[in-house]
């Protein structure tokens, strides 16, 4: 008999899923996806981002690391002043032939106002990192506590397979370190010394880079990613590396 009752709300079974609910959700998803695509081409909506970026639905509420370091880049706020790059270079002693983070420029020729889009990029600290899988000596690894992709410089043999494997061009060979170097969310230079923010985010005058803990519902990063009004996306989602750098506008 219960099965014939058209709406679960009548019986108080709130957890039960009904076709009309699913349709409504799908419609919402589609709306957000379309909005995302209009905003940037490679955009996916918030709901699909979270669903696809992390392996399990459980990650929507629970992230695998504590703290689960992450960054949200509010793309339209970036003015290409490069203070973030300068801060990164001086904090992490990045040589002039390499970079840990840069700002890419995309020309918006069809736009009637803003002509350039600035897209900061850095290591995506992936949850499914191709670089870690390919390194023959475990010189690069994902920290079990905070999820940062770290380097054990002394183990690096310089085969450069991690550079080849990285879908985000986030690695280079550092002659001084005699090893591959990459962004470690300033772990070595700042976080391990008790500081709470990364150099690039702290230097940004436009608050374009927001660094934080995705596992903390009170954190800005968590709130920015879990809001529903603005689309959030990741770069090169199709690779399936499950990145932890999120992009949004506004």
């Amino acid at each position: 008999m219960k099965d014939n009752i058209p709406s679960g709300r009548k019986t108080g079974e709130e957890k039960r899923e009904y076709p009309e609910d699913r349709e409504r959700r799908n419609f919402l998803k589609m709306g957000l996806t379309v909005t995302g695509m209009l905003a940037g081409g490679t955009i996916i909506s918030l709901i699909s981002t979270i669903g696809k970026t992390f392996a399990f639905d459980a990650y929507r509420e629970k992230y695998p690391y504590k703290p689960h370091y992450s960054m949200v880049i509010r793309q339209d706020r970036c003015i290409d002043c490069k203070r973030c790059l300068e801060a990164c270079v001086s904090t992490n002693h990045v040589p002039d032939y390499g970079w840990r983070t840069i700002i890419l420029k995309r020309e918006l020729s069809a736009s009637i106002d803003q002509k350039w889009d600035f897209i900061p990029i850095l290591c995506n600290q992936c949850n499914n990192p191709p670089c870690v899988r390919t390194c023959p000596t475990r010189a690069t690894y994902k920290d079990k506590k905070n999820g940062i992709i770290m380097m054990d410089y002394k183990k690096c043999i310089g085969c450069k397979s991690c550079i080849m494997a990285c879908p985000y061009n986030a690695r280079y060979y550092n002659e001084k370190r005699s090893a591959i170097d990459k962004c470690d969310f300033c772990f070595e230079s700042r976080l391990s010394k008790g500081l709470k923010n990364v150099a690039c985010a702290e230097a940004c005058p436009a608050d374009a880079r927001v660094f934080g803990d995705l596992s903390d519902p009170g954190d800005r990063v968590f709130k920015l990613i879990h809001q529903l009004q603005k689309p959030v996306w990741v770069l090169r989602e199709e690779v399936g590396a499950k990145p932890n750098i999120f992009y949004m506008k506004g």
């Binding site: 032939y97 020309e107 990029i121 023959p136 000596t137 043999i157 310089g158 450069k160 770069l235 199709e238």
Partner: protein, 418 residues
């Protein structure tokens, strides 16, 4: 201890050295040239790694981190797999017509691995760390770790196999040979897996490469066998005997068979990629109509596949000169095939589809002088080891190496050219 070792080794070394020195003027000139190339290659590599720095000495950079040195390594180790597989058909899997080429092929398989190791040893920034941390800190999910480890094991098995073959203990040689085949195939497909599992690089990603590596290994193995067996008879001033000619005929037919499959494979790779994602299409366009079109059409396809195929058919697998020319062209084409595969997989920028100004054009790569010298060093080492091997092991002719009871064909002594 030392004196007993000396007593055992000296009687072997002295006549071997005598054979090398009495090899004739042209032989010794080639030995000298290959030795010089090896030396120059090693010096160039050491200079690049430890003095100048690879950033200055090699043509690779952040966006093209590996290029001609890795492709040369692939060229050699894949050839090793092919040589091992083709030679194993004779003495491991019991195809009697291939028995006459077994010992030389196993030896060639060993020296091609060593040539590959020499080149990659001069490519990797820290070869000594590799030796330590490959053992102390292995990453079992890494294809590169498996590939390197398996090729090392394969080399050991091949050396054991060669010793047993040389001593005439055929039964033990079969076991070592079988282990060699298994590790070679595993290493070879893992090498394909290194590229095939890079999900950020759409030109490489997929199940195609491991199988392609194995298939192209067989083609390379056939080409190497024809090239080196004919060269060896020239060096030793011998006419090719009937049994060796029969073996070359079989290898020639196998080469045609595998070459045709490689051509079908390559065609389908092109067709499937042409409807793939933007990056893969751009890479394929670069190969087929762009900056790598000459390499692809003129060297890989025409010189490396079509002309050898025609020559092999024309030879009716009996005309040694035509077969030798076909094998030489195939080897030349395969070398560029490896280079194109490695470089073209990286020339499309990772952010190409994002439409950003910094990565709107394809990357370019030109090998540096240091890299070319290291490649020549690897080729020089392979040539030197081949020439020395021919004299040290007396043209790989030894009546007792395959016991008569186990032979289904006899391996007659080749006749000297008058």
């Amino acid at each position: 201890m030392a004196s007993s070792a000396q007593r055992r080794i000296l009687p072997i070394l002295k006549p071997a050295l005598g054979r090398v020195l009495s090899g004739g003027g042209i032989y010794l000139i080639f030995v000298g040239v290959f030795a010089l190339l090896t030396l120059i290659g090693i010096v160039a590599g050491i200079h690049a790694l430890f003095i100048a720095g690879t950033r200055h000495a090699y043509g690779t950079y952040r966006e093209i981190p590996v290029a001609i040195l890795i492709s040369t390594y692939i060229f050699f180790v894949v050839a090793s797999t092919g040589l091992c597989l083709i030679s194993s058909l004779g003495h491991v899997f019991g195809f009697p017509s291939l028995l006459p080429i077994a010992r030389r092929s196993v030896y060639l398989s060993i020296i091609t691995i060593l040539s590959g190791f020499l080149v990659i040893g001069l490519e990797i920034e820290h070869p000594f760390r590799m030796a330590i941390y490959n053992i102390l800190s292995p990453n079992l999910s890494s294809n590169i770790w498996w590939m390197g480890t398996l090729y090392s094991f394969a080399m050991v098995f091949l050396i054991i196999e060669f010793i047993f073959l040389w001593r005439g203990t055929h039964g033990k040689a079969v076991i070592a040979g079988l282990l060699g085949v298994i590790t070679e195939v595993a290493a070879n497909t893992n090498l394909g897996g290194v590229f095939a599992m890079m999900h950020g690089r759409s030109f490489w990603y997929g199940q195609y490469l491991p199988f392609y590596f194995l298939l192209s290994a067989l083609v390379t193995g056939c080409a190497f066998i024809i090239f080196f067996v004919v060269s060896a008879h020239k060096i030793n001033r011998l006419v090719i005997d009937e049994m060796t000619a029969k073996a070359l005929e079989v290898v020639g037919k196998l080469a045609v068979f595998f070459l045709i499959i490689v051509m079908i494979f390559t065609s389908w790779k092109m067709l499937t990629t042409s409807v793939g994602g933007v990056s893969a299409v751009e890479a394929m366009k670069a190969l087929v109509t762009g900056p790598y079109a000459f390499n692809f059409w003129a060297i890989e396809v025409l010189a490396g596949m079509i002309v050898p195929l025609i020559l092999l058919f024309m030879s009716r697998f009996k005309n040694i000169l035509l077969m030798f020319t076909a094998a030489t062209l195939m080897i030349f084409g395969i070398f560029f095939m490896r280079l194109d595969m490695v470089v073209v997989g990286q020339i499309v920028p990772l952010y190409y589809e994002l439409g950003v100004a910094e990565f709107s054009r394809l990357h370019k790569y030109t090998p540096s002088i240091h890299e070319i010298l290291v490649v020549l060093g690897g080729i020089g080492f392979c040539g030197l080891a081949f020439l020395l091997g021919e004299k040290i092991f007396a043209g790989f002719r030894k009546e007792d190496s395959i016991p008569a009871a186990e032979q289904t064909v006899t391996v007659p002594e080749a006749k000297e050219v008058p």
